[in-house]
């Protein structure tokens, strides 16, 4: 790791925020704040982000507002060895962007095939829930891509991370955070 990169990386860790590019300048923001400020995506397309937002919200209510798309987009735009994604633990092969593109593409293709051309983000809440339940069990007809059950597991982990992995999330669960070294921006 380059020394400059490492310093920037550790600065992010110390403040608890992630590095997002805003107007050509790197700023430290939580994913939720990056979403609220409309920070441009670096790797995912707008359509992929919309699918990811909808999937995240179906998996864990609150994931959209917590910035799941900006979280994943920022993470897959960094070198794999710096990633904070559960993908790292679940043996997804870098580059992680490849997996997310394949997974989101599989979801939308299957959704369109089964729902008269409507992508996952265009489905009703009930339809989204039904689709995810089938995906969880590898039972989506015509599915083409990474195993549906694994996509479910990984994206569910990302959604849990952004909603409940924060200091705010712990508070919502009534769990004392008790940090040794606190992530200062509730991350």
């Amino acid at each position: 790791m380059e020394q400059m990169e490492r310093r920037a990386f550790m600065k992010g860790a110390a403040t608890g925020a992630l590095a997002f590019a805003v107007g050509g300048v790197e700023v430290m923001l939580t994913p939720g704040a990056a979403r609220a400020q409309g920070v441009p995506l670096r790797t995912l397309t707008a359509a992929q982000a919309a699918t990811l937002d909808a999937l995240g919200e179906t998996l864990v209510p609150g994931a959209r507002q917590a910035g799941i798309s900006h979280f994943v987009d920022q993470q897959v735009s960094n070198p794999a060895e710096e990633a904070l994604l559960e993908a790292r633990i679940l043996n997804v092969r870098p580059p992680y962007a490849t997996f997310y593109r394949a997974a989101l593409g599989a979801v939308d293709r299957a959704s369109q095939a089964l729902n008269n051309g409507r992508g996952f983000a265009q489905l009703s809440e009930a339809e989204q829930r039904s689709f995810v339940d089938s995906m969880r069990q590898n039972k989506v007809d015509g599915w083409q891509g990474p195993a549906g059950g694994f996509v479910y597991l990984l994206l569910r982990s990302d959604a849990v991370d952004v909603v409940y992995g924060t200091m705010e999330g712990y508070a919502a669960l009534g769990i004392p955070y008790m940090p040794h070294i606190a992530p200062t921006q509730r991350w």
Partner: protein, 525 residues
């Protein structure tokens, strides 16, 4: 490319095993260089967050995981100095005498070339060296007597205590678990404050991670760490009789050669075989130390069986350490189960956080949406779990081989092929059934047995034995074929028992490093 000034010893990997070798060699006044492929983590880097903690976990050259039960990058993979021991549970069970002679006694598995009595003094010394909390007398119902642990057991909490009547109900005796966590201040390091962040790394020094213990000591005594440096080969002399150092690519991706009198491979069970294979020469066409053809063979994992349950009280399951509170070796005798051969080790009481692979949310992976919310908010405070670590017998079919894929420097990567055999699966099934009965006996309101057999830990691949005909290294980790090449870590275990491997790999590394120092003049010529 530069050839760097020759040093006494180069150690590949700055995790637990490398740290022991480095400290012992540095104490003896040897000039030591540790080459570590990941970052050089400091205690101040260890932010209390499961998400940030993923920086500390397995990365680097990818491995192709294959077989019916792929092992994958489990929690015992590390990335950077400290290795997996930077963020581990610090469970420190030891092997028992019956683990060392399974082949002789039962005609199963492999024998170790040494006995429990050979290792026992090193268990006691490691306990003092790095600090272990436990109750030796309570353990001695299962093992030969030894020295007391230097600290009393850790404080226990309800999410562990609640299981004790359940174990008793099925006739299983438990005792406080030995852990590498300070129950009192020890050697200037703080006592644990029980807030369950060991898995994110402990910056207080209460957890016996290498930075706080032997790696720290080695550095203080002059050992040098070169981080973000990736070793590609061990180099040998023209005659192929001795190793001369290692080739690596530094943080700037520049090729370097570090000459050394002795090379110690401590790059984990998954990477040591890669280095031996990729170091092949005309004198060692199948890889270094591989006359037996056993490099990469006998890879082993533990079959982890977990039963989770909800109790009708707030168990404060976020308190404690990442390690266990209570353990039982009652089912260690190899023929304890009727349907399967091998040992089982029950334990309970690890603190739980909401996120991450072993977090509360993954106790019910079937739940999502508002049902997951309701579970996390409404029920999770009464959640607790027990885990059985089940032994897998060594099989040559479970192996690491070179892959057709190459790393960024053009050297082959590896495939890890692993499938549990019938005995491990039988032990797993028996443990799950037993765990449900334990939960019932404990008064659980809802019970969720883990259905998927979960590989835990990775061992083998460079197993020890008596000669180059049956093994890669001797009991000190010294390769049979190249006197100044050592392998350290749980890769040298010929059988795995049902115990977490860290205590034993520390003890074996201490024994091996002291043998190296004692025989330095004949080995490091």
């Amino acid at each position: 490319m530069a050839t760097l000034d020759k040093v006494d010893a180069v150690i590949v990997g700055a995790g637990a095993a490398g740290a022991v070798f480095a400290a012992v060699l540095a104490r003896a006044g040897k000039q030591v260089v540790l080459i570590e492929q990941g970052p050089d983590w400091q205690l101040s880097d260890l932010i209390s967050s499961d998400i940030w903690a993923r920086r500390l976990r397995g990365s680097g050259p990818p491995i192709r995981y294959e077989g019916r039960h792929p092992v994958g990058r489990t929690g015992d993979h590390g990335w950077g100095t400290g290795g997996a021991a930077l963020h581990y549970s610090a469970n420190f069970p030891r092997l028992l005498p019956a683990d060392f002679n399974m082949k002789s006694a039962h005609g199963r598995g492999l024998d170790w070339p040494i006995s429990y009595a050979d290792v026992a003094p090193y268990y006691d010394r490691i306990a003092r060296e790095i600090g272990i909390s436990g109750d030796a007398k309570a353990e001695e119902r299962w093992r030969p007597p030894g020295e007391p642990y230097p600290m009393p057991p850790l404080k226990t909490f309800r999410h562990g205590e609640v299981w004790v009547p359940g174990f008793r109900s099925v006739g299983i005796t438990v005792a406080p678990g030995a852990v590498g966590v300070n129950s009192t201040e020890y050697k200037g390091r703080a006592a644990c404050i029980h807030d369950g962040w060991c898995g994110a790394g402990c910056p207080t020094g209460a957890l016996a991670n290498p930075q706080a213990t032997l790696l720290g000591e080695a550095r203080a005594k002059g050992a040098q760490v070169r981080a973000m440096s990736y070793v590609t080969r061990v180099l040998t002399d023209a005659g192929g009789a001795r190793v001369t150092g290692v080739e690596y690519y530094d943080a700037d991706k520049q090729r370097q050669v570090q000459d050394a009198h002795v090379v110690v491979l401590a790059a984990f069970a998954s990477q040591n075989p890669r280095l031996l294979f990729n170091s092949a020469t005309d004198k060692h066409p199948n890889g270094l130390a591989n006359a037996s053809g056993l490099v990469g063979k006998y890879m082993m994992a533990h079959a982890g069986a977990t039963v989770s349950a909800i109790f009708d009280e707030d168990l404060q399951n976020y308190l404690g350490s990442f390690g266990y509170q209570f353990v039982s070796y009652d089912l260690h005798p190899k023929t304890s189960r009727k349907a399967a051969f091998g040992s089982t080790f029950w334990n309970t009481g690890a603190a739980q956080k909401p996120t991450d692979a072993r977090g509360i949310a993954n106790v019910r992976p079937d739940l999502f949406g508002k049902e997951l919310d309701e579970f996390l908010v409404g029920k999770a405070r009464g959640l607790a779990r027990i885990t059985a670590i089940c032994e897998e017998l060594p099989s040559a079919d479970n192996r690491i081989e070179l892959s057709s894929e190459k790393d960024e420097f053009g050297f082959p990567l590896v495939r890890l092929i692993h499938s549990f055999q019938a005995d491990a699966i039988g032990l797993f099934d028996a443990a799950i059934a037993e765990g449900v009965e334990i939960a019932k006996g404990a008064g659980a309101k809802e019970i969720w047995p883990g259905r998927a057999i979960g590989p835990q830990h990775l061992l083998g691949g460079t197993v020890m034995g008596k000669s180059a005909n049956d093994s890669v290294v001797d009991s000190f980790g010294q390769t049979h074929e190249l006197a100044n090449l050592y392998v350290a870590g749980c890769g040298i275990f010929p059988t795995e028992s049902s115990a977490n491997p860290t205590f034993t790999l520390n003890a074996l590394s201490l024994r091996g490093a002291e043998q190296l120092v004692a025989n330095w003049s004949s080995i490091a010529i």
